[in-house]
């Protein structure tokens, strides 16, 4: 078999996750040695349009045009990787779903808002089947490399289904709760090596919520530290608003 044909596609996003690819440095050349990148609009003019072995999708689905486009890409792709928080969990674009769509369009575009159609933000798996996920805002390069290798070996990659706290403790950080601020680490999926807490910030939940989080336990923590529940709920919505679409689907 020849080198697998890979293409990058972007939907509503900041394109930071694609840029992470350029930030890999010289390993990128090793990757380009084993895969054939046929489309990558951000850095390439080449266009392919044919069958793909691997499609890497960045960004959320936010309008009708994107729904059609992602379906078309799915049809011609063997493996589809949702790449980054926008694609995997809706990410910051999901915050739009907090508002009435016409209202937010009017706020941004004025009275002629109907020129700019929009839909409720959706993660890619909420529109088409996704084979692999690389979560993160932005993606964590070592994890992306692991997923890529899993794809090439044709084995599944499962995103860790335990809390960011695990990695945070292993990194021996002072817990943010000890500093008196709320952190989403206890309910957020690990795999980023507790990136934000290592740098003195809190975890904002960009990797999605662990399955079966203990909501009662979480409320206990908040009350223990005098952190209002609304604040945390709002914080969770920063990246995880689209979770509601999954929950409603169940």
């Amino acid at each position: 078999m020849g080198k697998p044909k890979v293409a990058f596609f972007d939907f509503a996003c900041c394109e930071g996750c694609q840029l992470q690819v350029a930030n890999m440095g010289e390993i990128l050349l090793d990757i380009l040695d084993i895969v054939d990148v046929v489309e990558f609009r951000e850095v390439m003019s080449e266009k392919w349009g044919g069958e793909l072995d691997i499609a890497i999708i960045e960004g959320s689905i936010t309008d009708e045009h994107s729904v059609e486009r992602i379906k078309e890409i799915r049809k011609r792709s063997g493996i589809l990787i949702a790449y980054g928080s926008c694609a995997t969990i809706g990410g910051v674009n999901g915050m739009k779903n907090n508002f009435d769509l016409d209202e937010i369009r009017e706020y941004v575009y004025g009275s002629d808002f109907h020129f700019f159609p929009t839909k409720k933000t959706m993660a890619v798996h909420q529109v088409v089947k996704v084979d692999y996920s690389v979560i993160g805002c932005p993606v964590y390069i070592p994890e992306f490399v692991e997923v890529l290798k899993a794809v090439l070996q044709d084995i599944p990659y499962s995103v860790p289904d335990y809390a960011v706290c695990v990695e945070c403790k292993q990194n021996e950080n002072v817990c943010m709760y000890d500093k008196g601020v709320g952190c989403l680490g206890p309910v957020t999926r690990a795999g980023c090596n507790s990136w934000c807490v290592n740098n003195g910030n809190i975890c904002y939940g960009c990797r999605g919520i662990v399955s079966g989080p203990n909501e009662k336990g979480a409320h206990d923590i908040l009350s223990k530290y005098n952190i209002p529940l609304d604040l945390i709920k709002n914080k969770i919505n920063m990246y995880n608003k689209c979770r509601e679409i999954d929950q409603n689907a169940q």
């Binding site: 930071g16 936010t62 003195g200």
Partner: protein, 446 residues
């Protein structure tokens, strides 16, 4: 070659412009030698950032708005924090300012180098992307990736990562560099010196199209000796000067139907921001090494060839590189005061006093002047938000450039014309996902 340009029909409809950040189309229509349409359509799906900021805490603004754009997320963070601090009347410490400048230098370096190597170089070397260059110019590509990675690592040490910096927040930094970190950053910079020199040489071999159009340039200006990137007033080459609070008078936004990004104008029909604008307005304040580079690359202020924006980026890269080295040396001298480290969060501990206010941030992002403006209530909740992105400011100017360029090259083939237009757009290094956002301005039907 077209023999009869006066009867020439041309129909360019280039969808999904490549090697730019975000989605844009070029639409040009020439009928019997007369230019009828000349647009840069912005078809990026709108993301409604200003809309969705409403109701969120001002302490989250930087985290959210850095997600407007991955390439210049440090600049967005900086502008956002500046606006927030302005609204809250917080004055950052001098150590904080130095560290912020450092981060901005790293980001400008990173962004300019990315543009030079991956976005602009393929055009100038006659290939479609950097991929074929891996075979033909392997050493160049390796150098580019090395440089890119180093910039990324520098931001990583200073702010946790380059894309969506972690530790920079209202009031300062949640994690301050240690002595070891300062040494590590200096070592990384030293390690790239040679590659920067090689990049200057690489750029000096480029041949740029000869095209000029007299343009109004806008950038931050100041009265001190420093090349202003993080502070200053708004200035233009037509002599405008005003406080950043009055940014709306400069940008005069208006909406056009073909673009989900709004357009701007000042004294004339359009103006330009970015490297070339800063170079033209503030040449005197560049680092001596950067001036040397300018003369090596034969670019003189005032330069009105937009294609040479790439050259101005090179000059600025040298400037940022050298300024970063001196800030680090300075910090090593004075030492970092670790007690300035601040605890981020939801401001739950009410460590930072909050009040109602309206604040503006103006920062020279790699692509030009970037404005953030927030209005907050007494609890620090955002009531209104507005972000004006360099690329939106340039869009109108790009179209005016295209209008002048197309008739000048009508004797060329369709492909050549398309390619020239693409190159022109790319020279501005447009950042389209950034520019897709709009505010409450009146819709002006053209």
């Amino acid at each position: 070659m077209h023999s009869d340009i006066n009867n020439r029909d041309l129909n360019i409809n280039l969808e999904y412009l490549t090697r730019v950040e975000g989605h844009g189309n070029i639409v040009v229509n020439v009928k019997e030698g007369r230019l009828e349409t000349c647009h840069l359509d912005i078809v990026e799906a709108p993301r409604f950032f200003e809309g969705l900021l409403r109701g969120r805490s001002i302490f989250e603004a930087q985290h959210i708005t850095s997600r407007i754009c991955g390439i210049c997320s440090c600049s967005h963070s900086l502008a956002s924090i500046q606006a927030a601090e302005d609204a809250l009347s917080i004055t950052p410490s001098s150590q904080t300012i130095k560290l912020r400048k450092l981060l901005l230098y790293f980001e400008i370096l990173d962004s300019h180098l990315l543009h030079i190597y991956f976005l602009a170089a393929p055009d100038l070397l006659g290939v479609k992307s950097f991929v074929p260059l891996i075979g033909t110019h392997n050493e160049v590509i390796r150098r580019a990736l090395r440089l890119k990675k180093t910039c990324n690592d520098l931001c990583g040490i200073l702010a946790g990562r380059h894309i969506h910096p972690i530790s920079m927040t209202i009031g300062g930094f949640t994690k301050l560099p240690t002595e070891k970190d300062l040494d590590a950053m200096l070592a990384l910079l030293e390690g790239m010196r040679h590659d920067i020199e090689a990049t200057v040489e690489f750029v000096s071999a480029f041949k740029f199209p000869e095209f000029e159009r007299d343009t109004e340039y806008v950038a931050l200006v100041s009265d001190d000796g420093e090349y202003p990137l993080l502070a200053g007033d708004l200035g233009s080459s037509d002599g405008v000067r005003m406080n950043k609070k009055e940014y709306k008078k400069v940008t005069n936004e208006f909406v056009v139907p073909h673009s989900s990004a709004k357009h701007t104008k000042l004294s004339r029909r359009s103006y330009a921001v970015g490297s070339l604008a800063r170079f033209n307005l503030n040449y005197e304040k560049l680092h001596p090494k950067a001036k040397e580079t300018a003369s090596t690359l034969r670019i003189k202020s005032v330069c009105i060839n937009p294609f040479l924006n790439t050259v101005a980026q090179m000059v600025e890269s040298v400037h940022c590189f050298n300024e970063a080295v001196s800030i680090l040396a300075d910090l090593k001298n004075t030492g970092i005061n670790p007690s300035e480290e601040i605890v981020v969060g939801l401001n739950e501990g009410s460590k930072i006093p909050v009040k109602a206010g309206n604040g503006v941030g103006a920062v020279e992002a790699p692509r030009g002047t970037l404005f953030h403006n927030y209005e907050i209530d007494e609890k620090g909740i955002i009531l209104n938000a507005n972000c004006i992105i360099p690329t939106s400011q340039n869009l109108n100017n790009i179209e005016r450039d295209m209008e002048k360029l197309v008739p000048e090259i009508l004797d060329k083939s369709d492909e050549e014309i398309t390619h020239s237009l693409e190159m022109l757009v790319r020279a501005y290094d447009p950042c389209i996902s950034c520019s897709t956002h709009l505010v409450d301005v009146k819709f002006i039907h053209a």
